[in-house]
């Protein structure tokens, strides 16, 4: 299997903070994998996500993305990688307020300039339809629900057909129903071959992953792996909860 991400001895410290938030982290992610990072608040989950997606600098160590050391990449190179190979879904949708829903989704496609606007519009409509938000394209950001916004954010992450989607608490700000919908969408995307690397507190979402990494005090404490076909969803969640209790979570 192709290795997408390789993290070697990564340490991350912030100015004015004595202790490092990531300490000698080593990690690999294979193509098509569904990886979830869990851990208590302040354990370094988000720092790890932003470091391996190249959105934040690390203090030391090496991060390879498709074999390219992104710790040495320029802003231009890193931006291009994010545009073409990576998609992001955050806790909040973070759509631009001066653009409508459709324009927000199209934005990375327009920026990439590898296809015509007509093609991008067609793809946007298809994506919105597949996410169940086809009627809100011309709505403003403030005029739609949180669940719809998050689905629009997923559409935006997918518009350039990325290799991997990074998610930082993608269901964290949603109600239960919207959360379930988003969860199902993400699982569907993973089944279609897109690698997922998510940070979450949501055990139900994490239970759907191939691998759960438990982070504490900036270090990977342990990993939990399960085969998707081994058992049903409820049983997987129970097994995960049991493992998490063992970690003191």
């Amino acid at each position: 299997m192709q290795r997408i991400i390789e993290v070697n001895q990564v340490t991350k410290s912030y100015q004015n903070e004595r202790e490092a938030v990531l300490k000698d982290v080593n990690l690999t992610v294979e193509a098509g994998e569904f990886v979830v990072v869990m851990g208590p608040s302040g354990s370094g989950k988000s720092s790890l996500l932003y470091a391996i997606s190249g959105m934040d600098q690390v203090s030391s160590g090496q991060i390879l993305f498709n074999g390219l050391d992104i710790t040495k990449a320029t802003d231009e190179e890193m931006s291009h990688l994010r545009l073409v190979k990576m998609g992001f879904v955050f806790q909040h949708a973070y759509l631009l307020k001066n653009k409508n829903i459709c324009e927000n989704i199209m934005l990375p496609g327009i920026r990439l300039k590898n296809r015509t606007k007509e093609v991008i519009i067609k793809e946007t409509n298809e994506l919105m339809k597949s996410m169940g938000i086809e009627g809100i394209g011309d709505h403003t950001v403030s005029a739609v629900s949180g669940g719809q916004l998050q689905r629009a954010a997923i559409c935006r992450a997918l518009i350039n057909r990325p290799q991997i989607i990074f998610g930082d608490e993608p269901t964290g700000a949603l109600n239960k129903r919207a959360s379930t919908e988003v969860m199902e969408i993400l699982c569907r995307l993973n089944k279609q071959g897109i690698t997922l690397f998510l940070v979450t507190h949501d055990a139900a979402l994490a239970a759907k992953a191939d691998r759960i990494i438990f982070l504490s005090d900036g270090r990977i404490q342990s990993e939990f792996r399960q085969k998707r076909w081994q058992c049903d969803s409820a049983e997987r969640t129970d097994r995960l909860n049991g493992w998490l209790q063992n970690q003191g979570f």
Partner: protein, 716 residues
């Protein structure tokens, strides 16, 4: 302007002056005053005109004479009631024997100090004085006047009388209303009383004395309007923006049960305090800054005595207006927000794109207008052709010979001299006559008409053109107003009692020779000569050649023949105005650049901080920092370039119309000023400097974008 008015109140300058060399019939003059119930007083001021070359000034370091001055130097003793010369403290003074009061304009031009010695010497006659005062002269305090006055004691004056210089009488009349002077001018000319010199009315005198200060006041007025405009935009922009930031907090306060009035009072208290401190600071800075531009006027005109109410009240009123504007703006915006529901307050997103554009457009355009118009005005005034707007013809040299008993032979010698000097390429001669014009009420009015070929004099006309055939006459603006004539109208003159109809070919501005002048190509039959004028063009306009020709002419002509280099005349007469405008233009340029830099800096900083989350999102989805910066640069600089371009075209093409309109409204006697046409400074350097500073600030401030990270985003 109050300083000028105040000095006029103290000095009581005449409302009408007739200069005259030769014998004066005092009884006839007194009779004219007695017969006219509008005349409140009259007096004759005797003056001894002394050539600048005969006046020598010695300071501990240097000795020089006043031959380089273009002004006539008149020596007088003081008159307590009317036309008084004042000291530096605006008080009437009498000189002791051996003391002399020097005109303040010489103090500046020649760097003369109190205690310096002044000697007048011609042949065997010598008198020595000590400079004990600098004199403020309401009548002649500008280099734009043709004369200036020195104050001596009566005893010294009598010693000089008949021994040196040439005696001239200033016949002065005072009226219940200074505006009556134009009517009186006609009466005086019709009465046949002495008058071989200029007749000057109060209006022209005041215009000449205060012209440079009017111009500076005009510029400051223009700048004030611009700065007020910028300030209002800034105030509204910053209040609106900060209120939008506080909207969510207001929503929260309302949600927890505070009433609208409670919230209004909390927020208004804050804005009242900020506005109060800002207004007081502005008031303090304005009181200090105002002195910089008017220091010279305070020296020459004295400081206007203002009541406490005026001195403190007027600036305070300005500060109060600013304060009230801020508080009202804040109140209006707050009130508007209060009409929103709590939910809207908590959830509403910002929509300030239009306001952003307006802020940039107004500040950039105002900056260009504020710098280009004053600089254009400076360039126009310092250009050699400006004198043609003031009524003077363009030539290398001008010669004027006033009529006297020996006029014909003196004039012949001028002719001979002009023909004998090989450096002279050509000359135009004009004869100035005194004539009479038949007014619409059938009364006769005197008129000075200069006759000659005016086509090549380069004089600018407000309307129409120079007279070029028999029966045509061009009128100065003051005469056109006095006679209610416009270009194309008919004007009837009286020749030997017979009416002769002329056509007005054009109207021009004129502050020379009293301002009430006229020009004709062909003499219709006038026979009373006032003076002859010559405009001389040299083969080579090199300064030393001009000096050489002047020297030759002086040697070959008689005393009383006034020979002047036009360039020198302009540079000296206009020096105070040109220097003031130069200082003002440079100060405004630097200040505006700083202001533009500061406002752009605040704007960009504020804008990117407000859009920080959006920027971070763009970076997260694959926009490089460079691409985001480029996008902002393109948008901001596009707006700035557009505003600067439009403002540059406007200020250069229509700026003179704005200045002319303001001059017309201020009614100072000059109604038209044209800018000098294409100039690299106003079309290129100034707008480009504003663009450059904006580019620089935008580029530096936008670099901040590189540091924005999605990790630091606030939730939406």
């Amino acid at each position: 302007m109050r300083a000028s008015d105040h000095q006029y109140e103290l000095a009581n300058p005449p409302h009408f002056i007739q200069l005259h060399k030769g014998a004066v019939d005092e009884n006839a003059l007194a009779q004219l005053a007695a017969d006219d119930n509008r005349v409140t007083a009259y007096q004759i001021v005797e003056m001894i005109d002394i050539d600048g070359g005969d006046i020598e000034i010695s300071s501990p370091d240097t000795t020089f004479n006043l031959s380089g001055s273009v002004l006539d130097n008149g020596f007088v003793f003081n008159h307590p009631q009317y036309d008084s010369l004042l000291n530096n403290s605006n008080q009437y003074i009498e000189m002791e024997t051996g003391q002399i009061g020097l005109p303040l304009i010489y103090k500046e031009s020649y760097d003369i100090e109190l205690g310096d010695e002044l000697r007048i010497q011609k042949g065997d006659f010598t008198m020595n004085f000590i400079v004990t005062e600098f004199i403020r002269d309401a009548q002649m305090n500008s280099t734009m006047c043709s004369s200036t006055r020195f104050l001596v004691s009566r005893a010294d004056f009598e010693k000089m009388d008949g021994c040196i210089g040439e005696n001239e009488a200033e016949i002065e009349y005072f009226f219940d209303d200074p505006g009556y002077a134009t009517t009186f001018l006609t009466n005086y000319e019709n009465s046949g009383l002495p008058g071989n010199g200029q007749a000057i009315t109060y209006r022209i005198m005041k215009l000449l004395s205060s012209f440079s200060y009017y111009m500076i006041a005009l510029i400051i007025g223009l700048i004030s309007v611009g700065v007020i405009l910028i300030s209002l935009v800034c105030i509204r922009y910053s209040i609106r923006s900060s209120m939008e930031d506080e909207r969510r907090q207001i929503g929260t306060l309302r949600a927890i049960g505070l009433s609208i009035d409670d919230i209004l009072s909390v927020y208004l208290k804050k804005y009242r305090m900020i506005a109060g401190i800002g207004s007081l600071l502005g008031l303090f800075l304005a009181l200090i800054g105002g002195n910089v531009f008017f220091r010279q006027s305070a020296d020459l005109l004295g400081k206007a005595e203002m009541t406490i109410l005026e001195a403190i009240g007027i600036p305070l009123l300005g500060a109060v207006v600013v304060y009230v504007t801020i508080v009202i703006s804040a109140r209006r915006i707050l009130k508007k927000d209060m009409t929103l529901s709590i939910l809207e307050l908590l959830m509403r997103t910002n929509s300030e794109t239009k306001r952003n554009k307006r802020f940039l457009i107004i500040t950039s355009a105002a900056a260009v207008i504020l710098t280009v118009i004053p600089l254009n005005l400076y360039l126009a005034v310092s250009d050699s052709s400006f004198s043609t707007y003031m009524g003077a013809a363009s030539a290398d040299l001008t010669i004027r010979l006033a009529t006297d008993d020996d006029f014909i032979s003196k004039n012949d010698r001028v002719f001979e001299a002009l023909q004998s000097i090989i450096e002279i390429e050509s000359y135009n001669s004009f004869i100035e006559y005194k004539g009479q014009v038949l007014k619409e009420d059938q009364s006769l009015s005197g008129i000075q008409v200069s006759v000659g070929d005016f086509e090549k004099t380069g004089l600018s006309y407000l309307s129409g053109q120079s007279p070029n055939k028999d029966g045509e006459i061009a009128l100065s603006l003051l005469n056109a107003e006095l006679l209610s004539k416009r270009t194309g109208d008919q004007l009837v003159i009286s020749l030997n009692g017979e009416p002769v109809v002329l056509r007005v070919s054009g109207v021009y501005q004129d502050v020379t020779n009293g301002g009430y002048t006229a020009k004709m190509a062909v003499n219709p039959g006038f026979d009373q000569v006032i003076a002859s004028d010559y405009l001389v063009t040299l083969k080579d306009q090199d300064n030393s050649k001009i000096e050489n020709v002047i020297q030759q002419l002086e040697e070959k002509t008689d005393s009383g023949t006034k020979i002047m280099s036009t360039e020198e005349y302009i540079s000296k007469t206009m020096s105070s105005l040109v220097n003031s405008l130069k200082l003002a233009s440079a100060t405004i340029w630097i200040t505006t650049l700083l202001l533009v830099g500061l406002l752009t800096m605040l704007y960009v900083k504020y804008r990117i901080l407000r859009e920080k989350d959006g920027i971070a999102v763009k970076k997260a989805i694959g926009f490089s920092a460079k691409a985001v910066i480029r996008e902002y640069q393109f948008r901001m600089m596009g707006i700035i370039c557009g505003a600067v371009l439009i403002a540059t075209v406007f200020s250069n093409l229509l700026g003179d119309k704005v200045v002319s309109l303001l001059l017309r409204l201020s009614n100072i006697g000059i109604v038209d000023i044209s800018f000098t046409g294409f100039n690299l400074l106003t079309w290129g350097l100034l707008p480009v400097s504003i663009l450059l500073i904006s580019f620089l600030v935008v580029a530096v401030m936008l670099a901040e974008i590189k540091r924005f990270k999605i990790v630091e985003m606030n939730s939406f």
